[in-house]
């Protein structure tokens, strides 16, 4: 059974100008220990999806209007406040984008990390302190013991993100939502943090949802990728498959706009023209239609369904009239469409380095220190 099953999730924000459909019918599944990438540009509903999973949408103005979020067999949306709090931090944890603002400036980091331990595992101060030291060691903070009583301002950005990761790991959650965990960090630190996350995901067999706008980040980290656009999922595929054979023109656009360092050509970076649609009054047909260079009349009239793509793996779904059976994009060579593909070759090598087996994991084969939650 899947660890997390999201069915037809709708999250709306009721503003003065109208109803913003931030998440508009998103469905996906996640198995225990699996890593999933949620990719899309700013404002496409990635973060709102993550916050919805923990029922942390500010309300008002936001509200989850429809759908199911089945986590470990129970629907999160049907739980009462206490039950949801029991899940937060304990079973689902979250890592935020900006480690500069997500730590409380006036509390020591040991207090912030032990919060979840005291709340969920009912540890006392000294036990929590011990565990906090272990966690800080685990995420690679040197002389962790000496730094327990330091304040966030005494840490650098990358260190703070490590602290956030330690916080997320504190109760051995089954699922960690990482919302742009590296966006606020500089490139060398990004690589370190991604490595750390990758190792932890493998070591602890924790399921990850990695939310990002950077296809390069998800490439080396995830087993599957869902591409989001305007509150909807527009393409779902295995990571390898997505980079080998992307189907949705929006995904092509994302791939085309990856910047490269070894620029020989005099060409400029090719952006996706136009702006994301207004989520209060989205286009009636395909949401990407106004920006799509392959659009036809049908795209404006009828919204395509998210269906299997002919000639691809059965779990490769795309939301595009053109790539559906008999569509006009089925035989289009996407490589030619996006031009230079050398970046993709590099990414694909990275993808190959992710072990594909981690998806099927049960608690039975967790290392003993990880099952201590049940023991306490």
């Amino acid at each position: 059974m899947a660890l997390l099953e999201v069915k037809d999730l709708h999250t709306n924000f009721f503003t003065r100008d109208g109803v913003v459909k931030a998440v508009d019918g998103v469905s996906f599944e996640l198995n225990a220990g699996e890593t999933l990438g949620l990719v899309g540009e700013s404002g496409c509903g990635k973060s709102v999806t993550a916050l919805s999973l923990m029922r942390l949408i500010p309300q008002p103005p936001g509200k989850i209007t429809q759908g199911q979020i089945v986590f470990d067999g129970t629907d999160v949306l049907q739980m009462d406040e206490d039950e949801v709090r029991g899940i937060r931090g304990n079973n689902i944890a979250m890592i935020f984008q900006d480690p500069m603002t997500s730590l409380n400036p006036v509390l020591t980091i040991s207090r912030q990390i032990s919060e979840a331990l005291e709340l969920h595992l009912k540890m006392d101060r000294s036990e929590a302190r011990k565990r906090t030291t272990e966690l800080l060691d685990l995420v690679g903070i040197p002389s962790a013991k000496k730094r327990l009583d330091d304040y966030p301002h005494q840490f650098s950005g990358g260190m703070r993100q490590r602290v956030m990761i330690a916080m997320a790991l504190s109760c051995n959650p089954k699922l960690i939502l990482a919302d742009e965990p590296t966006t606020a960090l500089d490139v060398t630190i990004q690589a370190q943090i991604l490595d750390l996350l990758k190792n932890l995901a493998q070591e602890f067999r924790t399921a990850f949802i990695l939310i990002t706008h950077d296809l390069g980040v998800v490439a080396g980290m995830t087993q599957r990728i869902h591409v989001m656009y305007a509150g909807r999922i527009v393409e779902k595929a295995d990571t390898g498959e997505l980079f080998a054979d992307p189907k949705m023109p929006y995904t092509w656009g994302l791939l085309r706009s990856i910047p490269r360092l070894d620029e020989r050509r005099k060409e400029r970076l090719v952006p996706i023209e136009g702006l994301p649609p207004d989520l209060i009054a989205p286009p009636p047909g395909c949401k990407f239609e106004p920006r799509c260079q392959y659009r036809r009349d049908i795209c404006r009239e009828k919204e395509p369904d998210l269906v299997a793509v002919p000639g691809a793996k059965p779990d490769h779904l795309a939301r595009c009239h053109g790539t559906q059976a008999g569509g006009w994009l089925v035989d289009t060579d996407w490589r030619r469409e996006i031009g230079d593909t050398r970046v993709l070759e590099e990414i694909k090598q990275e993808v190959a380095s992710v072990p594909a087996e981690a998806a099927k994991t049960t608690t039975a084969d967790l290392p003993p220190e990880l099952t201590q939650k049940e023991g306490i």
Binding site: M54, L56, E81, R85, G86, I87, R88, G89, N90, A93, M94, F96, D98, T101, S102, L103, N104, P105, V106, L107, T108, E115, A116, L119, H120, K146, L148, D149, D150, Y151, H153, Q154, M164, M167
Partner: protein, 308 residues
């Protein structure tokens, strides 16, 4: 290389980072370097000690009780003849300095009590209305605006007439009148803090509303609240004096700085020295409270942390 450049290069005689510097120990470290605050705190401590030791001092040093009258010694000017005459005597021959000591008890107790009410009510209402917003916030804003739009003295007089004056009523009334400042400040800060990411992070970890408010938001506003409270304590002492001065505060014969001052002004021509003691005591205490509050604020400010 220029001399200035040399100086810069050789300058960093950096003090080793104080490890494990807690919020309070760090604040204390910085407070120690702030001479004004230290003096102010020392004076306050002295006043408190004198007030606490009033009984012992009166019996063993001044050999005089604060109720002891002697009409033959009325309006004795200050003299060094014996300790009880240092500040002279009042219209019925009571030792002014002994009464001043006992008055300190009342005035400080009123100040502390009112400050405590002010702090608890102000923080509770400020935090809750800033955090929950909605109808509760509207109601509290309405209450505060109404309270603030009525002249304080008028309200004080009104309440003092309704309830019989006494230390407890005075404390309650003053506390009731001063909480709105703290409440408004805390509310405003909470508005901004509740939207910060670390609050979401706390909720992600599973903290409930109360925990988020008390453990995550409150520590961020506490430093300035402490200053406001110190100012309010000073304010409370002044209000008590004003009320007693108008004859609506602490009833004689219990001395308070306020009613002693009132007493003194009635016989200004006969015993002008009687004004000095209570007047100076009030001024010095309030001034020291302000200064100390200011210093503590600076020492606790997280933005200044790590600087010297």
């Amino acid at each position: 290389m220029s001399a200035a450049g040399q100086a810069v290069l050789s300058a960093p005689a950096v003090e080793p980072r104080r490890s494990a510097a807690g919020l309070w120990s760090d604040a204390f470290y910085r407070l120690r370097r702030d001479r004004t605050s230290i003096v102010a705190l020392a004076v306050l401590a002295l006043i408190v000690l004198l007030a606490l030791g009033a009984d012992a001092l009166a019996t063993s040093f001044f050999h005089e009780s604060f109720t002891h009258q002697d009409l033959l010694e009325s309006y004795d000017p200050p003299s060094l003849a014996k300790p009880s005459l240092w500040l002279g005597t009042d219209e019925i021959g009571r030792s002014q300095i002994v009464r001043l000591l006992y008055g300190a008890r009342v005035s400080l107790a009123v100040g502390a009590g009112a400050g405590l009410i002010d702090l608890t009510v102000g923080i509770a209402i400020g935090l809750s209305s800033g955090y929950f917003r909605g109808w509760w916030d509207d109601l509290m804003q309405f209450l505060i605006s109404t309270l603030n739009s009525i002249p304080a003295l008028f309200l004080l007089l009104f309440i003092s007439v309704l309830f019989s004056p006494g230390p407890v009523t005075i404390v309650a009334v003053i506390g009731f009148l001063t909480w709105s400042g703290i409440a408004l400040y805390v509310r405003g800060q909470t508005f901004s803090l509740r939207e910060r990411e670390f609050v979401t992070a706390a909720r992600v970890v599973g903290a409930d509303d109360l925990r988020v408010m008390v453990r995550h938001i409150l520590p961020n506003v506490l430093p300035l609240v402490i200053v406001l409270a110190a100012i309010d304590v000073g304010q409370a002492i002044l209000i008590e004096s004003a009320l007693s001065y108008l004859g609506l505060g602490i009833d004689p014969p219990t001395p308070s700085w306020g009613n002693m001052l009132q007493n003194a002004t009635q016989d200004l021509t006969l015993g002008p020295w009687l004004v000095w003691g209570p007047g100076l005591a009030i001024s010095v205490t309030v001034l020291c409270l302000y200064l100390a509050g200011d210093g503590i604020r600076d020492a606790l400010d997280p933005r200044l942390r790590g600087t010297e």
